[in-house]
Protein backbone atom coordinates (compact mmCIF):
# COMPACT_ATOMS: atom_id res chain seq x y z
CA UNK A 1 0.00 0.00 0.00
CA UNK A 2 2.62 2.53 1.11
CA UNK A 3 5.07 1.93 -1.72
CA UNK A 4 2.32 2.19 -4.33
CA UNK A 5 1.41 5.64 -3.00
CA UNK A 6 4.94 6.92 -3.55
CA UNK A 7 5.02 5.96 -7.23
CA UNK A 8 4.92 8.87 -9.70
CA UNK A 9 1.81 7.54 -11.46
CA UNK A 10 0.02 7.97 -8.15
CA UNK A 11 1.47 11.35 -7.20
CA UNK A 12 0.83 13.02 -10.55
CA UNK A 13 -2.98 12.60 -10.78
CA UNK A 14 -3.42 13.34 -7.08
CA UNK A 15 -1.40 16.52 -7.42
CA UNK A 16 -3.39 17.53 -10.51
CA UNK A 17 -6.63 16.83 -8.67
CA UNK A 18 -5.51 18.88 -5.68
CA UNK A 19 -4.75 21.85 -7.93
CA UNK A 20 -8.14 21.63 -9.65
CA UNK A 21 -10.02 21.36 -6.36
CA UNK A 22 -8.05 24.26 -4.87
CA UNK A 23 -9.02 26.36 -7.90
CA UNK A 24 -12.68 25.32 -7.59
CA UNK A 25 -12.71 26.43 -3.95
CA UNK A 26 -12.42 30.04 -5.15
CA UNK A 27 -15.63 29.81 -7.18
CA UNK A 28 -17.83 31.62 -4.59
CA UNK A 29 -15.80 34.81 -4.99
CA UNK A 30 -16.28 34.75 -8.77
CA UNK A 31 -19.98 34.10 -9.41
CA UNK A 32 -23.34 35.20 -8.00
CA UNK A 33 -25.72 33.15 -5.87
CA UNK A 34 -27.70 31.66 -8.78
CA UNK A 35 -24.58 30.06 -10.22
CA UNK A 36 -23.52 29.04 -6.72
CA UNK A 37 -26.74 27.11 -6.24
CA UNK A 38 -26.20 25.48 -9.62
CA UNK A 39 -22.66 24.59 -8.59
CA UNK A 40 -23.96 23.05 -5.38
CA UNK A 41 -26.39 20.91 -7.39
CA UNK A 42 -23.60 19.76 -9.67
CA UNK A 43 -21.19 18.90 -6.86
CA UNK A 44 -23.86 17.11 -4.80
CA UNK A 45 -24.97 15.03 -7.78
CA UNK A 46 -21.32 14.39 -8.58
CA UNK A 47 -20.78 12.93 -5.12
CA UNK A 48 -23.97 10.86 -5.29
CA UNK A 49 -23.35 9.52 -8.81
CA UNK A 50 -19.68 8.75 -8.14
CA UNK A 51 -20.52 7.03 -4.86
CA UNK A 52 -23.27 5.06 -6.63
CA UNK A 53 -20.85 3.96 -9.35
CA UNK A 54 -18.19 2.98 -6.86
CA UNK A 55 -20.38 0.07 -5.81
CA UNK A 56 -22.77 -0.47 -8.71
CA UNK A 57 -20.25 0.07 -11.53
CA UNK A 58 -17.94 -2.87 -10.97
CA UNK A 59 -20.50 -5.24 -9.40
CA UNK A 60 -23.43 -4.34 -11.74
CA UNK A 61 -25.72 -4.50 -8.68
CA UNK A 62 -28.12 -1.66 -9.37
CA UNK A 63 -28.98 0.21 -6.22
CA UNK A 64 -32.27 2.13 -6.45
CA UNK A 65 -32.05 3.44 -2.89
CA UNK A 66 -29.71 6.42 -3.14
CA UNK A 67 -32.34 8.73 -1.71
CA UNK A 68 -32.81 6.54 1.36
CA UNK A 69 -29.27 7.27 2.52
CA UNK A 70 -29.47 10.87 1.36
CA UNK A 71 -32.73 11.35 3.29
CA UNK A 72 -31.38 9.68 6.41
CA UNK A 73 -28.47 12.10 6.36
CA UNK A 74 -30.86 15.03 6.02
CA UNK A 75 -33.07 13.74 8.82
CA UNK A 76 -30.12 13.25 11.16
CA UNK A 77 -29.33 16.93 10.72
CA UNK A 78 -32.96 17.89 11.27
CA UNK A 79 -33.14 15.91 14.50
CA UNK A 80 -29.70 16.57 15.97
CA UNK A 81 -28.66 19.79 14.22
CA UNK A 82 -29.56 22.11 17.09
CA UNK A 83 -28.40 19.77 19.85
CA UNK A 84 -24.89 18.81 18.76
CA UNK A 85 -22.07 20.62 16.95
CA UNK A 86 -22.25 20.12 13.18
CA UNK A 87 -19.17 17.85 12.78
CA UNK A 88 -20.59 15.49 15.44
CA UNK A 89 -23.92 15.51 13.60
CA UNK A 90 -22.09 14.47 10.41
CA UNK A 91 -20.47 11.58 12.28
CA UNK A 92 -23.88 10.49 13.59
CA UNK A 93 -25.30 10.66 10.06
CA UNK A 94 -22.46 8.53 8.74
CA UNK A 95 -23.08 5.98 11.51
CA UNK A 96 -26.81 5.85 10.74
CA UNK A 97 -26.06 5.30 7.05
CA UNK A 98 -23.54 2.59 7.89
CA UNK A 99 -26.03 0.72 10.08
CA UNK A 100 -28.71 0.69 7.41
CA UNK A 101 -26.25 -0.27 4.67
CA UNK A 102 -24.98 -3.16 6.81
CA UNK A 103 -28.52 -4.38 7.35
CA UNK A 104 -29.42 -4.17 3.65
CA UNK A 105 -26.05 -5.55 2.59
CA UNK A 106 -25.97 -8.59 4.82
CA UNK A 107 -29.57 -9.57 4.12
CA UNK A 108 -29.36 -9.29 0.32
CA UNK A 109 -25.80 -9.23 -0.99
CA UNK A 110 -25.10 -12.88 -0.25
CA UNK A 111 -27.90 -13.71 -2.74
CA UNK A 112 -28.25 -13.09 -6.46
CA UNK A 113 -28.21 -9.47 -7.61
CA UNK A 114 -31.92 -9.30 -8.33
CA UNK A 115 -32.83 -9.61 -4.63
CA UNK A 116 -30.69 -6.60 -3.90
CA UNK A 117 -32.37 -4.57 -6.64
CA UNK A 118 -35.84 -5.49 -5.41
CA UNK A 119 -34.94 -4.72 -1.83
CA UNK A 120 -33.55 -1.30 -2.66
CA UNK A 121 -36.46 -0.62 -5.03
CA UNK A 122 -39.01 -0.69 -2.22
CA UNK A 123 -36.72 0.58 0.53
CA UNK A 124 -37.54 4.24 -0.15
CA UNK A 125 -41.24 3.54 0.28
CA UNK A 126 -40.57 1.62 3.50
CA UNK A 127 -38.33 4.24 5.10
CA UNK A 128 -40.68 7.04 4.13
CA UNK A 129 -43.63 5.20 5.63
CA UNK A 130 -41.81 4.34 8.84
CA UNK A 131 -40.51 7.90 9.31
CA UNK A 132 -44.00 9.32 8.62
CA UNK A 133 -45.51 6.86 11.06
CA UNK A 134 -42.98 7.83 13.72
CA UNK A 135 -43.58 11.55 13.19
CA UNK A 136 -47.36 11.18 13.31
CA UNK A 137 -47.50 8.90 16.33
CA UNK A 138 -44.52 9.89 18.44
CA UNK A 139 -43.51 13.48 17.75
CA UNK A 140 -46.95 14.46 16.39
CA UNK A 141 -45.36 16.89 13.92
CA UNK A 142 -45.12 15.97 10.27
CA UNK A 143 -42.38 18.41 9.25
CA UNK A 144 -39.20 19.67 10.83
CA UNK A 145 -37.39 22.98 10.56
CA UNK A 146 -33.64 23.29 10.13
CA UNK A 147 -32.24 26.61 11.25
CA UNK A 148 -28.48 26.37 11.25
CA UNK A 149 -25.88 29.03 10.82
CA UNK A 150 -24.53 27.54 7.60
CA UNK A 151 -24.29 29.63 4.43
CA UNK A 152 -24.55 28.51 0.83
CA UNK A 153 -20.79 28.91 0.46
CA UNK A 154 -20.16 26.67 3.48
CA UNK A 155 -22.31 24.00 1.89
CA UNK A 156 -20.37 24.32 -1.34
CA UNK A 157 -17.00 24.00 0.37
CA UNK A 158 -18.14 21.03 2.43
CA UNK A 159 -19.48 19.25 -0.65
CA UNK A 160 -16.31 20.01 -2.56
CA UNK A 161 -14.22 18.52 0.26
CA UNK A 162 -16.48 15.48 0.36
CA UNK A 163 -16.12 15.04 -3.40
CA UNK A 164 -12.32 15.34 -3.17
CA UNK A 165 -12.23 12.72 -0.41
CA UNK A 166 -14.53 10.48 -2.46
CA UNK A 167 -12.36 10.74 -5.57
CA UNK A 168 -9.22 10.05 -3.56
CA UNK A 169 -10.92 7.05 -1.93
CA UNK A 170 -12.02 5.77 -5.32
CA UNK A 171 -8.56 6.34 -6.75
CA UNK A 172 -6.84 4.43 -3.96
CA UNK A 173 -9.52 1.75 -4.12
CA UNK A 174 -8.88 1.29 -7.83
CA UNK A 175 -5.33 0.22 -7.10
CA UNK A 176 -5.94 -1.70 -3.89
CA UNK A 177 -6.61 -5.39 -3.34
CA UNK A 178 -10.21 -4.60 -2.37
CA UNK A 179 -10.87 -2.77 -5.65
CA UNK A 180 -9.29 -5.58 -7.63
CA UNK A 181 -11.41 -8.14 -5.78
CA UNK A 182 -14.49 -6.08 -6.58
CA UNK A 183 -13.71 -6.03 -10.30
CA UNK A 184 -13.21 -9.78 -10.33
CA UNK A 185 -16.60 -10.17 -8.66
CA UNK A 186 -18.10 -7.94 -11.35
CA UNK A 187 -16.61 -10.06 -14.14
CA UNK A 188 -17.50 -13.43 -12.64
CA UNK A 189 -18.62 -14.11 -9.12
CA UNK A 190 -17.87 -17.83 -9.23
CA UNK A 191 -14.29 -17.19 -10.34
CA UNK A 192 -13.92 -14.65 -7.54
CA UNK A 193 -15.09 -17.19 -5.01
CA UNK A 194 -12.58 -19.71 -6.32
CA UNK A 195 -9.79 -17.14 -6.03
CA UNK A 196 -10.46 -17.14 -2.31
CA UNK A 197 -12.29 -13.81 -2.16
CA UNK A 198 -14.94 -13.49 0.51
CA UNK A 199 -17.48 -12.24 -1.99
CA UNK A 200 -20.19 -11.15 0.43
CA UNK A 201 -17.81 -9.25 2.69
CA UNK A 202 -16.24 -7.32 -0.20
CA UNK A 203 -19.64 -6.37 -1.61
CA UNK A 204 -20.99 -5.28 1.77
CA UNK A 205 -17.84 -3.25 2.51
CA UNK A 206 -18.16 -1.36 -0.77
CA UNK A 207 -21.89 -0.86 -0.36
CA UNK A 208 -21.36 0.62 3.10
CA UNK A 209 -18.59 2.88 1.80
CA UNK A 210 -20.77 4.21 -0.98
CA UNK A 211 -23.74 4.61 1.39
CA UNK A 212 -21.68 6.68 3.84
CA UNK A 213 -20.87 9.20 1.11
CA UNK A 214 -24.54 9.40 0.10
CA UNK A 215 -25.61 9.93 3.72
CA UNK A 216 -23.05 12.67 4.22
CA UNK A 217 -24.26 14.42 1.07
CA UNK A 218 -27.77 14.45 2.49
CA UNK A 219 -26.52 15.77 5.82
CA UNK A 220 -24.51 18.56 4.20
CA UNK A 221 -27.38 19.54 1.88
CA UNK A 222 -30.00 19.60 4.67
CA UNK A 223 -29.39 23.19 5.89
CA UNK A 224 -30.27 24.36 2.38
CA UNK A 225 -33.91 23.39 2.77
CA UNK A 226 -34.87 24.92 6.15
CA UNK A 227 -38.00 22.72 6.12
CA UNK A 228 -38.14 18.98 5.49
CA UNK A 229 -40.78 16.28 5.75
CA UNK A 230 -40.64 12.60 4.71
CA UNK A 231 -42.01 13.33 1.24
CA UNK A 232 -39.31 15.93 0.51
CA UNK A 233 -36.43 14.01 2.08
CA UNK A 234 -37.27 10.63 0.55
CA UNK A 235 -38.22 11.61 -2.99
CA UNK A 236 -37.59 8.58 -5.27
CA UNK A 237 -36.89 10.94 -8.15
CA UNK A 238 -33.44 11.58 -6.69
CA UNK A 239 -32.43 7.90 -6.85
CA UNK A 240 -33.60 7.88 -10.44
CA UNK A 241 -31.61 11.01 -11.35
CA UNK A 242 -28.45 9.58 -9.84
CA UNK A 243 -28.77 6.32 -11.77
CA UNK A 244 -29.34 8.23 -15.03
CA UNK A 245 -26.31 10.44 -14.49
CA UNK A 246 -24.00 7.58 -13.59
CA UNK A 247 -25.16 5.54 -16.58
CA UNK A 248 -24.82 8.42 -19.02
CA UNK A 249 -21.27 9.09 -17.92
CA UNK A 250 -20.24 5.48 -17.56
CA UNK A 251 -20.21 3.85 -14.13
CA UNK A 252 -17.15 1.69 -14.69
CA UNK A 253 -14.60 4.51 -14.50
CA UNK A 254 -13.87 6.80 -11.57
CA UNK A 255 -14.45 10.05 -13.46
CA UNK A 256 -17.12 8.58 -15.75
CA UNK A 257 -20.18 9.65 -13.73
CA UNK A 258 -18.95 13.24 -13.73
CA UNK A 259 -19.41 13.33 -17.51
CA UNK A 260 -23.08 12.49 -16.99
CA UNK A 261 -23.61 14.76 -14.00
CA UNK A 262 -22.71 18.07 -15.63
CA UNK A 263 -24.92 17.92 -18.77
CA UNK A 264 -27.83 16.29 -16.94
CA UNK A 265 -27.86 18.71 -14.00
CA UNK A 266 -28.07 21.53 -16.54
CA UNK A 267 -30.81 19.66 -18.43
CA UNK A 268 -32.80 19.10 -15.20
CA UNK A 269 -32.46 22.79 -14.45
CA UNK A 270 -33.97 23.66 -17.83
CA UNK A 271 -36.69 21.01 -17.52
CA UNK A 272 -37.82 21.99 -14.01
CA UNK A 273 -37.97 25.63 -15.10
CA UNK A 274 -39.90 25.03 -18.32
CA UNK A 275 -41.86 21.78 -17.90
CA UNK A 276 -42.46 21.35 -14.15
CA UNK A 277 -45.47 19.07 -14.74
CA UNK A 278 -43.84 16.89 -17.36
CA UNK A 279 -40.52 16.52 -15.58
CA UNK A 280 -41.03 12.87 -14.73
CA UNK A 281 -42.01 11.94 -18.30
CA UNK A 282 -39.06 13.78 -19.84
CA UNK A 283 -36.71 12.18 -17.35
CA UNK A 284 -38.06 8.73 -18.16
CA UNK A 285 -37.61 9.31 -21.88
CA UNK A 286 -34.04 10.63 -21.40
CA UNK A 287 -33.28 7.57 -19.33
CA UNK A 288 -34.65 5.13 -21.92
CA UNK A 289 -32.60 6.83 -24.63
CA UNK A 290 -29.44 6.39 -22.55
CA UNK A 291 -30.20 2.74 -21.75
CA UNK A 292 -30.84 1.93 -25.43
CA UNK A 293 -28.26 4.03 -27.23
CA UNK A 294 -25.40 4.39 -24.76
CA UNK A 295 -25.16 1.17 -22.75
CA UNK A 296 -21.53 1.88 -21.77
CA UNK A 297 -22.05 5.59 -21.15
CA UNK A 298 -20.13 8.46 -22.75
CA UNK A 299 -16.85 6.94 -21.58
CA UNK A 300 -17.76 3.60 -23.15
CA UNK A 301 -18.40 5.37 -26.45
CA UNK A 302 -15.11 7.23 -26.26
CA UNK A 303 -13.18 4.04 -25.52
CA UNK A 304 -14.92 2.20 -28.31
CA UNK A 305 -13.79 4.70 -30.94
CA UNK A 306 -10.37 5.34 -29.47
CA UNK A 307 -9.25 1.72 -29.21
CA UNK A 308 -11.53 -0.52 -31.24
CA UNK A 309 -9.49 -3.66 -30.47
CA UNK A 310 -10.34 -3.43 -26.78
CA UNK A 311 -14.04 -3.73 -27.48
CA UNK A 312 -13.70 -7.38 -28.50
CA UNK A 313 -15.52 -9.58 -25.99
CA UNK A 314 -12.81 -12.29 -26.01
CA UNK A 315 -10.39 -9.87 -24.40
CA UNK A 316 -12.26 -9.40 -21.15
CA UNK A 317 -9.20 -9.04 -18.94
CA UNK A 318 -7.86 -5.92 -20.59
CA UNK A 319 -10.82 -4.04 -19.20
CA UNK A 320 -9.88 -4.69 -15.60
CA UNK A 321 -6.25 -3.90 -16.21
CA UNK A 322 -6.65 -0.67 -18.05
CA UNK A 323 -8.50 0.87 -15.15
CA UNK A 324 -5.43 0.64 -12.98
CA UNK A 325 -3.12 1.76 -15.77
Amino acid sequence: MINCILKPDFIKPVFLGAVIFAALAFLPSLVDSYYMSLAISIVSFAVLATAWSMFSGPTRYISLATVVFFGIGAYTVAVLGEVLPFPVVLVCAALAGTMLALLVGFSTLRLAGVYFVIFTFGLTELVRQVVSWYEVNVTREMGRYIFLDITQNDIYWQLLTLFAVLLLTGFILGRSRLGFALRIIGEDETVARHCGINVTRVKVALFVLSAVFMTLTGAIMAPRWTYIDPVIAFNPMLSFQVVIMALLGGPRRLLGPLLGVIPLTLLFEVLTANFPNHFSIMLGVTFMVIVYLLPGGVIGLYEKYRTPQKASPSNGHSKTEEKTA
Partner: protein, 290 residues
Protein backbone atom coordinates in the same frame (compact mmCIF):
# COMPACT_ATOMS: atom_id res chain seq x y z
CA UNK B 1 -63.38 -7.68 14.18
CA UNK B 2 -61.16 -10.70 13.66
CA UNK B 3 -63.34 -12.29 11.01
CA UNK B 4 -63.54 -8.94 9.23
CA UNK B 5 -59.76 -8.56 9.32
CA UNK B 6 -59.22 -12.08 8.07
CA UNK B 7 -61.75 -11.68 5.30
CA UNK B 8 -60.35 -8.39 4.10
CA UNK B 9 -56.93 -10.01 4.31
CA UNK B 10 -58.13 -12.82 2.07
CA UNK B 11 -59.55 -10.44 -0.55
CA UNK B 12 -56.40 -8.35 -0.47
CA UNK B 13 -54.23 -11.46 -0.55
CA UNK B 14 -56.25 -12.82 -3.46
CA UNK B 15 -55.49 -9.64 -5.40
CA UNK B 16 -51.80 -9.85 -4.57
CA UNK B 17 -51.72 -13.47 -5.66
CA UNK B 18 -53.47 -12.64 -8.93
CA UNK B 19 -51.18 -9.71 -9.69
CA UNK B 20 -48.11 -11.75 -8.71
CA UNK B 21 -49.14 -14.59 -11.04
CA UNK B 22 -48.77 -12.22 -13.96
CA UNK B 23 -45.42 -10.99 -12.73
CA UNK B 24 -44.08 -14.48 -12.15
CA UNK B 25 -44.99 -15.26 -15.75
CA UNK B 26 -43.17 -12.17 -17.03
CA UNK B 27 -40.11 -12.88 -14.94
CA UNK B 28 -40.13 -16.66 -15.15
CA UNK B 29 -40.84 -17.07 -18.87
CA UNK B 30 -39.89 -13.78 -20.54
CA UNK B 31 -36.94 -13.19 -18.15
CA UNK B 32 -37.97 -9.55 -17.82
CA UNK B 33 -37.74 -8.03 -14.37
CA UNK B 34 -40.52 -5.52 -14.86
CA UNK B 35 -40.34 -2.66 -12.36
CA UNK B 36 -43.16 -0.83 -14.16
CA UNK B 37 -45.56 -3.70 -13.48
CA UNK B 38 -47.39 -1.98 -10.64
CA UNK B 39 -47.87 1.11 -12.79
CA UNK B 40 -49.82 -1.00 -15.28
CA UNK B 41 -51.99 -2.23 -12.40
CA UNK B 42 -52.74 1.37 -11.46
CA UNK B 43 -53.36 2.36 -15.09
CA UNK B 44 -56.07 -0.31 -15.22
CA UNK B 45 -57.57 1.04 -11.96
CA UNK B 46 -57.76 4.50 -13.46
CA UNK B 47 -59.17 3.16 -16.73
CA UNK B 48 -61.93 1.42 -14.76
CA UNK B 49 -62.54 4.64 -12.86
CA UNK B 50 -62.85 6.69 -16.04
CA UNK B 51 -65.14 4.15 -17.70
CA UNK B 52 -67.37 3.97 -14.62
CA UNK B 53 -67.62 7.71 -13.92
CA UNK B 54 -67.76 9.08 -17.46
CA UNK B 55 -69.55 6.35 -19.41
CA UNK B 56 -71.32 4.55 -16.56
CA UNK B 57 -70.04 1.19 -17.73
CA UNK B 58 -69.41 -1.03 -14.73
CA UNK B 59 -65.94 -2.50 -14.27
CA UNK B 60 -67.05 -6.11 -14.68
CA UNK B 61 -68.16 -5.37 -18.24
CA UNK B 62 -65.12 -3.14 -18.57
CA UNK B 63 -62.93 -6.21 -18.11
CA UNK B 64 -64.09 -7.39 -21.54
CA UNK B 65 -62.37 -4.32 -22.99
CA UNK B 66 -59.42 -4.11 -20.61
CA UNK B 67 -58.16 -7.67 -20.97
CA UNK B 68 -57.61 -7.60 -24.75
CA UNK B 69 -56.47 -3.97 -24.61
CA UNK B 70 -53.83 -4.60 -21.97
CA UNK B 71 -52.76 -7.79 -23.72
CA UNK B 72 -52.17 -5.78 -26.89
CA UNK B 73 -50.45 -2.96 -25.00
CA UNK B 74 -48.03 -5.32 -23.27
CA UNK B 75 -47.43 -7.16 -26.52
CA UNK B 76 -46.42 -3.84 -28.04
CA UNK B 77 -44.23 -2.94 -25.04
CA UNK B 78 -42.39 -6.21 -25.41
CA UNK B 79 -42.02 -6.00 -29.18
CA UNK B 80 -40.96 -2.36 -29.31
CA UNK B 81 -39.12 -1.72 -26.06
CA UNK B 82 -37.88 -5.02 -24.74
CA UNK B 83 -37.04 -7.23 -27.69
CA UNK B 84 -34.03 -5.03 -28.66
CA UNK B 85 -32.70 -5.64 -25.16
CA UNK B 86 -33.32 -9.37 -25.44
CA UNK B 87 -31.47 -9.38 -28.76
CA UNK B 88 -28.45 -7.53 -27.41
CA UNK B 89 -28.12 -9.37 -24.08
CA UNK B 90 -25.33 -11.92 -24.03
CA UNK B 91 -26.62 -13.77 -20.99
CA UNK B 92 -29.45 -13.79 -18.52
CA UNK B 93 -27.72 -11.46 -16.08
CA UNK B 94 -27.29 -8.75 -18.69
CA UNK B 95 -30.91 -8.99 -19.76
CA UNK B 96 -31.93 -8.70 -16.13
CA UNK B 97 -29.88 -5.52 -15.64
CA UNK B 98 -31.07 -4.00 -18.93
CA UNK B 99 -34.70 -4.84 -18.31
CA UNK B 100 -34.54 -3.44 -14.79
CA UNK B 101 -33.16 -0.17 -16.15
CA UNK B 102 -35.56 0.08 -19.09
CA UNK B 103 -38.66 -0.67 -17.02
CA UNK B 104 -37.42 1.68 -14.31
CA UNK B 105 -37.50 4.41 -16.96
CA UNK B 106 -40.92 3.23 -18.11
CA UNK B 107 -42.16 3.49 -14.53
CA UNK B 108 -41.40 7.20 -14.41
CA UNK B 109 -42.95 7.80 -17.83
CA UNK B 110 -46.22 6.05 -16.93
CA UNK B 111 -46.32 7.67 -13.51
CA UNK B 112 -45.63 11.06 -15.07
CA UNK B 113 -48.47 10.66 -17.57
CA UNK B 114 -50.89 9.60 -14.81
CA UNK B 115 -49.82 12.57 -12.68
CA UNK B 116 -50.46 15.00 -15.51
CA UNK B 117 -53.95 13.59 -16.05
CA UNK B 118 -55.10 12.79 -12.55
CA UNK B 119 -52.84 14.66 -10.11
CA UNK B 120 -51.75 13.26 -6.78
CA UNK B 121 -55.19 12.76 -5.17
CA UNK B 122 -56.82 9.53 -4.09
CA UNK B 123 -59.62 8.20 -6.26
CA UNK B 124 -62.46 5.74 -5.78
CA UNK B 125 -65.89 5.08 -7.26
CA UNK B 126 -69.15 3.54 -6.08
CA UNK B 127 -69.76 0.04 -7.27
CA UNK B 128 -71.92 -2.46 -5.37
CA UNK B 129 -71.31 -0.85 -2.01
CA UNK B 130 -74.07 -2.74 -0.17
CA UNK B 131 -73.06 -4.87 2.80
CA UNK B 132 -73.37 -8.64 2.79
CA UNK B 133 -73.29 -10.70 5.95
CA UNK B 134 -70.49 -13.28 5.89
CA UNK B 135 -70.00 -15.32 9.08
CA UNK B 136 -71.17 -12.44 11.23
CA UNK B 137 -69.04 -9.77 9.53
CA UNK B 138 -70.54 -7.13 7.27
CA UNK B 139 -68.58 -7.28 4.04
CA UNK B 140 -69.08 -4.94 1.10
CA UNK B 141 -70.50 -6.76 -1.91
CA UNK B 142 -67.78 -5.36 -4.19
CA UNK B 143 -65.13 -7.19 -2.18
CA UNK B 144 -66.98 -10.46 -2.67
CA UNK B 145 -67.31 -9.81 -6.40
CA UNK B 146 -63.61 -8.96 -6.65
CA UNK B 147 -62.63 -12.06 -4.73
CA UNK B 148 -64.91 -14.21 -6.89
CA UNK B 149 -63.37 -12.88 -10.07
CA UNK B 150 -59.87 -13.28 -8.66
CA UNK B 151 -60.64 -16.94 -7.99
CA UNK B 152 -62.09 -17.46 -11.47
CA UNK B 153 -59.17 -15.77 -13.23
CA UNK B 154 -56.56 -17.38 -11.02
CA UNK B 155 -58.02 -20.84 -11.58
CA UNK B 156 -58.48 -20.24 -15.31
CA UNK B 157 -54.92 -19.04 -15.55
CA UNK B 158 -53.66 -22.08 -13.71
CA UNK B 159 -55.63 -24.40 -16.00
CA UNK B 160 -54.36 -22.63 -19.13
CA UNK B 161 -50.80 -23.09 -17.96
CA UNK B 162 -51.10 -26.70 -16.92
CA UNK B 163 -53.69 -28.13 -19.31
CA UNK B 164 -53.12 -26.48 -22.70
CA UNK B 165 -50.43 -26.86 -25.31
CA UNK B 166 -49.51 -23.18 -25.15
CA UNK B 167 -49.28 -23.29 -21.35
CA UNK B 168 -47.01 -26.31 -21.47
CA UNK B 169 -44.77 -24.52 -23.95
CA UNK B 170 -44.59 -21.49 -21.64
CA UNK B 171 -43.61 -23.68 -18.71
CA UNK B 172 -40.98 -25.40 -20.81
CA UNK B 173 -39.44 -22.04 -21.70
CA UNK B 174 -39.47 -21.10 -18.02
CA UNK B 175 -37.50 -24.21 -17.15
CA UNK B 176 -34.93 -24.04 -19.94
CA UNK B 177 -35.12 -21.69 -22.95
CA UNK B 178 -32.27 -23.46 -24.74
CA UNK B 179 -33.79 -26.92 -24.61
CA UNK B 180 -37.27 -25.59 -25.38
CA UNK B 181 -35.93 -24.55 -28.77
CA UNK B 182 -34.95 -28.16 -29.46
CA UNK B 183 -38.52 -29.36 -29.18
CA UNK B 184 -39.75 -26.81 -31.71
CA UNK B 185 -41.03 -24.17 -29.30
CA UNK B 186 -40.76 -20.64 -30.66
CA UNK B 187 -39.03 -19.12 -27.62
CA UNK B 188 -39.31 -15.51 -28.78
CA UNK B 189 -43.01 -15.88 -29.41
CA UNK B 190 -43.51 -17.64 -26.07
CA UNK B 191 -41.64 -14.89 -24.23
CA UNK B 192 -43.71 -12.21 -25.92
CA UNK B 193 -46.95 -14.09 -25.27
CA UNK B 194 -46.05 -14.64 -21.61
CA UNK B 195 -45.22 -10.96 -21.17
CA UNK B 196 -48.52 -9.90 -22.72
CA UNK B 197 -50.49 -12.45 -20.70
CA UNK B 198 -48.76 -11.28 -17.52
CA UNK B 199 -49.66 -7.71 -18.39
CA UNK B 200 -53.28 -8.71 -18.89
CA UNK B 201 -53.27 -10.26 -15.42
CA UNK B 202 -51.94 -6.96 -14.03
CA UNK B 203 -54.86 -5.16 -15.68
CA UNK B 204 -57.39 -7.61 -14.24
CA UNK B 205 -55.82 -7.11 -10.80
CA UNK B 206 -55.96 -3.34 -11.19
CA UNK B 207 -59.64 -3.33 -12.19
CA UNK B 208 -60.64 -5.65 -9.34
CA UNK B 209 -58.65 -3.66 -6.78
CA UNK B 210 -60.26 -0.41 -7.92
CA UNK B 211 -63.71 -1.84 -7.05
CA UNK B 212 -63.02 -1.77 -3.32
CA UNK B 213 -59.88 0.25 -2.59
CA UNK B 214 -58.99 3.90 -3.03
CA UNK B 215 -56.04 4.35 -5.32
CA UNK B 216 -53.62 7.10 -6.34
CA UNK B 217 -51.02 7.64 -9.03
CA UNK B 218 -48.16 6.92 -6.65
CA UNK B 219 -49.35 3.47 -5.57
CA UNK B 220 -47.72 1.60 -8.43
CA UNK B 221 -44.39 1.12 -6.68
CA UNK B 222 -46.07 -0.51 -3.69
CA UNK B 223 -47.92 -2.92 -6.00
CA UNK B 224 -44.76 -3.85 -7.85
CA UNK B 225 -42.98 -4.37 -4.57
CA UNK B 226 -45.69 -6.58 -3.12
CA UNK B 227 -46.00 -8.58 -6.31
CA UNK B 228 -42.23 -9.10 -6.38
CA UNK B 229 -42.18 -10.24 -2.77
CA UNK B 230 -45.03 -12.66 -3.40
CA UNK B 231 -43.21 -14.00 -6.46
CA UNK B 232 -39.99 -14.56 -4.52
CA UNK B 233 -41.80 -15.99 -1.51
CA UNK B 234 -43.79 -18.41 -3.64
CA UNK B 235 -40.80 -19.33 -5.79
CA UNK B 236 -40.28 -17.85 -9.27
CA UNK B 237 -42.63 -19.44 -11.80
CA UNK B 238 -44.68 -21.25 -9.15
CA UNK B 239 -48.41 -20.44 -9.46
CA UNK B 240 -49.55 -22.28 -6.35
CA UNK B 241 -46.72 -20.71 -4.38
CA UNK B 242 -47.86 -17.27 -5.53
CA UNK B 243 -51.38 -18.01 -4.27
CA UNK B 244 -50.23 -19.10 -0.81
CA UNK B 245 -47.67 -16.29 -0.50
CA UNK B 246 -50.24 -13.71 -1.65
CA UNK B 247 -52.72 -14.86 0.98
CA UNK B 248 -50.06 -14.81 3.72
CA UNK B 249 -49.06 -11.27 2.77
CA UNK B 250 -52.67 -10.06 2.51
CA UNK B 251 -53.75 -11.52 5.85
CA UNK B 252 -50.63 -10.31 7.67
CA UNK B 253 -51.21 -6.84 6.27
CA UNK B 254 -54.89 -6.77 7.21
CA UNK B 255 -54.18 -7.97 10.75
CA UNK B 256 -51.54 -5.32 11.30
CA UNK B 257 -53.76 -2.62 9.78
CA UNK B 258 -56.66 -3.63 12.06
CA UNK B 259 -54.84 -4.25 15.33
CA UNK B 260 -51.68 -2.16 15.24
CA UNK B 261 -51.60 0.70 12.75
CA UNK B 262 -52.67 1.07 9.11
CA UNK B 263 -49.57 3.21 8.54
CA UNK B 264 -47.29 0.23 8.90
CA UNK B 265 -48.48 -2.05 6.08
CA UNK B 266 -45.31 -1.67 4.02
CA UNK B 267 -43.24 -2.41 7.10
CA UNK B 268 -45.09 -5.73 7.39
CA UNK B 269 -44.37 -6.49 3.76
CA UNK B 270 -40.70 -5.82 4.41
CA UNK B 271 -40.52 -7.88 7.57
CA UNK B 272 -41.96 -10.82 5.64
CA UNK B 273 -39.56 -10.18 2.77
CA UNK B 274 -36.58 -10.07 5.15
CA UNK B 275 -37.66 -13.33 6.78
CA UNK B 276 -37.93 -15.00 3.38
CA UNK B 277 -34.49 -13.70 2.35
CA UNK B 278 -32.90 -14.86 5.57
CA UNK B 279 -34.58 -18.24 5.84
CA UNK B 280 -35.47 -19.49 2.38
CA UNK B 281 -34.55 -17.18 -0.53
CA UNK B 282 -35.63 -19.77 -3.10
CA UNK B 283 -39.22 -19.37 -1.89
CA UNK B 284 -41.64 -21.47 0.13
CA UNK B 285 -42.03 -24.10 -2.57
CA UNK B 286 -39.06 -23.18 -4.72
CA UNK B 287 -36.31 -25.56 -5.67
CA UNK B 288 -32.81 -24.49 -4.70
CA UNK B 289 -31.39 -22.41 -7.51
CA UNK B 290 -28.09 -23.72 -8.78
Amino acid sequence: MLSYAVFSGITLGGMYALVAMGLTLQYGVSRIMNLAYGELVIVASFAAFVLMTSAGINPVIGLLIFIPASFALNWAIYRILLSPLVARAKNRGMLEVDSILATFGLLFIVQGILLVWFGGNYYSYDFMNGAVDVFGAAIAANRLVALGFALVFGLGFYLVLTRTRMGTALRAVAVDPQSARLVAIDVNFAACFAFALGGAMAAVGGVLVSMFLTFSTSMGVAFTMKALIVVIMGGVGNMLGALVAGLILGIAEALVATYIDPGLTIAVTYVIFLLVLLIKPSGLFGRTVS
